[in-house]
Symmetry: D2
Subunit: 105 residues, 4 copies
């Protein structure tokens, strides 16, 4: 199982705001039943390699379908085959680790 | 005001787990009074350019101080000088946009 | 046409060297007739969106096929639909711009 | 010694071209005597941690000084403390590895 962080930036849009494109990313994720988290720096999607690469390809098209001519897309994939990973697992694991350390101190 | 997403990866560590280093990132952010959010894919820190570059440099050293000999650090900076940006602003703006669209529909 | 920069990092490999995996990326690119450039920080591949997403998915599997259990893959896609972009275009355009500026000065 | 890949994207610029900003990155690197390589996807700079973080902070300011109000900067740092790393080292190492493999085959 893997997590994908995707960040899509339209280039040459006049406005410095890109919220319109992020909102469309969220809508498309909902329509396709994807499990995701919206953060300040991108959208994190959970799934196996097939799911996340399909999602990435689909989401990358969003600004083009709205008339943008150049898109920069950044993708980070964290893929583990030794165990399942889900959204919020890493956050919880780190928080648990911090609590244990405090108790031990 | 800017947001920085930082993701620090120790290379050559035997274990596939990197939670130990992420926990230390959180501890150092707390010690230095930084405003941050932990996500599944990194840590997002809020501040002006001086604050976030200082933070990045400091956090990048964490794995070295724990004996790691090679570190890959990914940083994404979203810096706006036309208005203040804070953690969760973008997330809220996108959620508001989605709600308005639903009402209009 | 688009450019894809791909950087694949195996996690938990004992050795801090990752050249073995990069060499395999190059071999697989050659086998599939992809047009690419190897840089110090990744491999840049030229193609349309279909080509580069297929390539990304295939290359991301390399460390798993060599026994690694966790892989972090970073992808950056620069996709223009208003004109063809090829490897070295941007580099040449910037160099031309610098030469013109010098002549004008 | 470390390598830094820096990619600076101005947001809200009307034109889909960003070559003007990349050219300025190259000029500033030259003025400051930095050792760098321009690639299709960014600029790779060689130096110790102090050098590359100073360079990153300085280069990130370029679009703001030209009137842009929002800048997205992506940085990737590959830092080894077990041996010196220089531009083109990794590329040469991978090419040598591929030649050896061919000879062995």
């Amino acid at each position: 199982m893997a997590l994908l962080e995707i960040n899509i930036v339209p280039i040459g849009t006049e406005s410095p705001s890109i919220g319109e494109y992020v909102a469309e990313v969220v809508r498309v994720c909902d329509q396709h039943g994807l499990t995701y988290n919206l953060t300040d720096m991108g959208t994190i999607i959970e799934g196996d390699a097939d799911t996340i690469f399909s999602a990435a390809k689909m989401l990358h098209e969003i600004p083009f379908s709205r008339g943008v001519s150049r898109v920069l897309t950044h993708l980070t994939i964290d893929d583990r085959r030794d165990k399942a990973i889900h959204l919020q697992d890493e956050v919880k694991a780190v928080q648990d680790r911090l609590v244990q350390k405090e108790k031990a101190a």
